[in-house]
Assembly symmetry: C2
């Protein structure tokens, strides 16, 4: 379980400082020994925040906390994330643990508890040892720095085999700004770990009202377009913090034309993080990009793409390097999206396997089989119903997934 | 791939004759060599029929054919089923092959082509060698018999490891009637096979209007309540034929109180066949029954149950005999059914793991772990929202599934 994924990137990227953001990681020994499991971030006054949270009906107490804070629309001054315990299915005691965490961080940072965001990831159904967590916070506060990005990304890992980070530069009104992101997740993770967390930080000067549509759209095209096993979790959280330290005029609308470069940078960071999560998918040996075109809408295209990406039969065919396009026919048919079967085409790599709903007589199956032997597999589907298109990413389903999730005994 | 499942029943059950039904199986060599792959059934005049068919948007030509016949509301005189080729993603040529099959059978049986039902299961995306099929039909017609149930069940198999049959007796107005069923399916099946076919035959004297609600309700509680991998197919078909040979007065309404015993027999046969399909699930080592109670409706309970049954993380936990109830918390939360988390309870076997949304302090985890070592695992979930309850069945997700579906090369 600690082996590096064959799809791991060569190294953690260099993340530059983000003015107004300081970080520290440390050991609270919540579950893991001898590795950091706690992150504290301190944010400049006036930091705006927006985010998306799991829609699970068994959402964990820290998710409820963040949702309430986002609803109030205040700024953010702190973020605390722990790994090893999801604080999920923990009831009133779990809610109290979140409040205690926020209050402890607020006292250190010098702000209100309602300006401190909290996330947890790890085992579901065990109470969080919150005293150990709060006892570790002062040590972290003493070590806050602008450069602790690798440590921060490592501290939020559970069964991840490598830390995940991304950065992009942009400019707003001629002023350079930076967008940094860190994330964790590699399946809804053994042994019963809460899945996906992502935090993006920028020094751009944007209102929360401007951030909200940006994060919603960006998440739809990144984290909502990936799947390892279709199991979303009790703790999924993505937060975007904008410190406003950059010296351009404050922007209040997501549609402002001055945000063009920033939108692209944000989407690049989110997509990069999302793909890193899939590459670290439990047991993954191949990264799979599935593009659906010709749907009535982008949402319909994404729905079809995710159905393909979640199909165990497609994922095992990819693991077996088998150009088995019949399985794709079956999945797109049952995905709940209506279309004319006679307009269905399917490509494996560059080779069209099916056209007009039947086998393409010109299909170069050996070429498709060679494509599938690579570490990156591309599938495209066209359904001829409209202009909607979307790309989603997944990984193959291998013996490694079964080993991680079944052979483990708790 | 030909090894018998560890969950296989000891033997094929004794199916008595159904007055008005004659069957024969034989070899058309459509894909397999040296094993039967073609079934012909001849039905008495006045046989009523009802059925449910896949809602896939890539439904195969034989499914379209059966849907059109069911819409016309005529009787049925014949049934032809082939294995090895699904006649799916085959376009106009595929439709012509169905017509040719029905016409050939009709000429033998002495009826109209629109009284002959046709099903196919097997490889998707290859044209059906229909001439070989029709050439084999006369030999089958010469051998029609009332007792060829084991041969019929074997002829429709693809990657199934054993033939599936069930029977039950009932009475209507004091007259004994019999209900026989055969089925195939064990995953949406390698290499790209079309999944689930089931045919039920009775001598009861019922109108098609009476049969329709009976088959719909019965299928909801049986075939629509099982899942191996969530992949429904292009060819799923369940047909119920009633020859009317039994000497009770014809019944025209499903709600007729004289049908109480018949309804129970039909549901018993459908549920028995459905469980046999799950037991033959690709790689299955355990049969899992998941009961959801306290939902707003039976449909909501079934939706929650199927979400649990389709979760790779739950299915691998069961394979690993790991009493990992946190994974169940995560799945029921994301299943799209609203409920109050504080009312959630979860049982593994007889042992309650969670109550009021949190860990049950009295949970006997060693006892639950012992339960999970058995070949039949029971999970129960209560959500405290209403009177709706449903049971669904699935199997565990093992290395065997990966071997069958990924290690195979086409």
């Amino acid at each position: 379980m600690t082996a590096i994924s064959p799809l791991a990137p060569a190294r953690f990227p260099d993340l530059p400082p983000v003015p107004g953001v300081r970080l520290a990681a440390g050991e609270a020994r919540l579950r893991y020994k001898g590795r950091p499991d706690l992150l504290l971030a301190a944010l400049a006054p006036e930091t705006a925040v927006a985010g998306t949270l799991t829609r699970s009906h068994t959402a964990a107490p820290p998710v409820h906390w963040c949702r309430a804070l986002l609803g109030e629309g205040k700024g953010a001054r702190g973020l605390v994330v722990n790994a090893g315990n999801a604080n999920a299915a923990t009831g009133e005691q779990g809610h109290a643990a979140v409040r205690q965490t926020a209050e402890a961080a607020a006292a250190l940072v010098g702000c209100g508890a309602d300006e401190v965001y909290v996330s947890s990831t790890g085992v579901i159904g065990e109470q969080l040892p919150v005293d150990r967590l709060t006892a570790a916070l002062p040590g972290l506060h003493d070590r806050l720095s602008e450069s602790a990005w690798p440590e921060a990304a490592a501290a939020i890992m559970t069964t991840d085999t490598y830390p995940k980070g991304a950065t992009a530069a942009a400019e707003i009104d001629g002023v350079p700004v930076v967008v940094n992101g860190i994330a964790k997740g590699s399946g809804m993770i053994a042994p019963n770990m809460g899945t996906m967390l992502a935090y993006v930080f920028t020094d751009a000067n944007l209102s929360a009202a401007a951030l909200r549509p940006l994060v919603r759209r960006g998440v739809n095209r990144s984290f909502n377009a990936i799947t390892v096993d279709g199991d979303t979790s009790t703790n999924d959280t993505c937060l975007l913090f904008a410190t406003g330290a950059a010296r351009h005029r404050r922007i209040g609308r997501a549609g402002d034309s001055r945000l063009e470069s920033f939108r692209a940078a944000l989407e690049a960071v989110l997509t990069d993080l999302a793909r890193q999560i899939v590459r670290d998918g439990e047991g993954a040996a191949k990264l799979v990009a599935i593009t659906v075109r010709g749907a009535a809408s982008e949402a319909a295209a994404r729905k079809l793409g995710l159905a393909i990406a979640n199909s165990p039969l497609v994922k095992t065919a990819i693991a077996g390097e088998d150009p088995n396009w019949g399985r794709i026919v079956a999945v797109v048919g049952r995905a709940g999206v209506a279309f004319d079967q006679a307009r269905l085409s399917i490509w494996l790599g560059a080779d069209r396997a099916a056209a007009n709903g039947v086998a393409d007589p010109a299909f170069d199956e050996p070429a498709a089989a060679r494509h599938m032997k690579g570490q990156e597999v591309e599938i495209a589907v066209e359904i001829g119903s409209g202009p909607g298109a979307a790309t989603v990413w997944t990984c193959d389903l291998t013996h490694g997934y079964i080993e991680i999730n079944a052979d483990y005994r708790s």
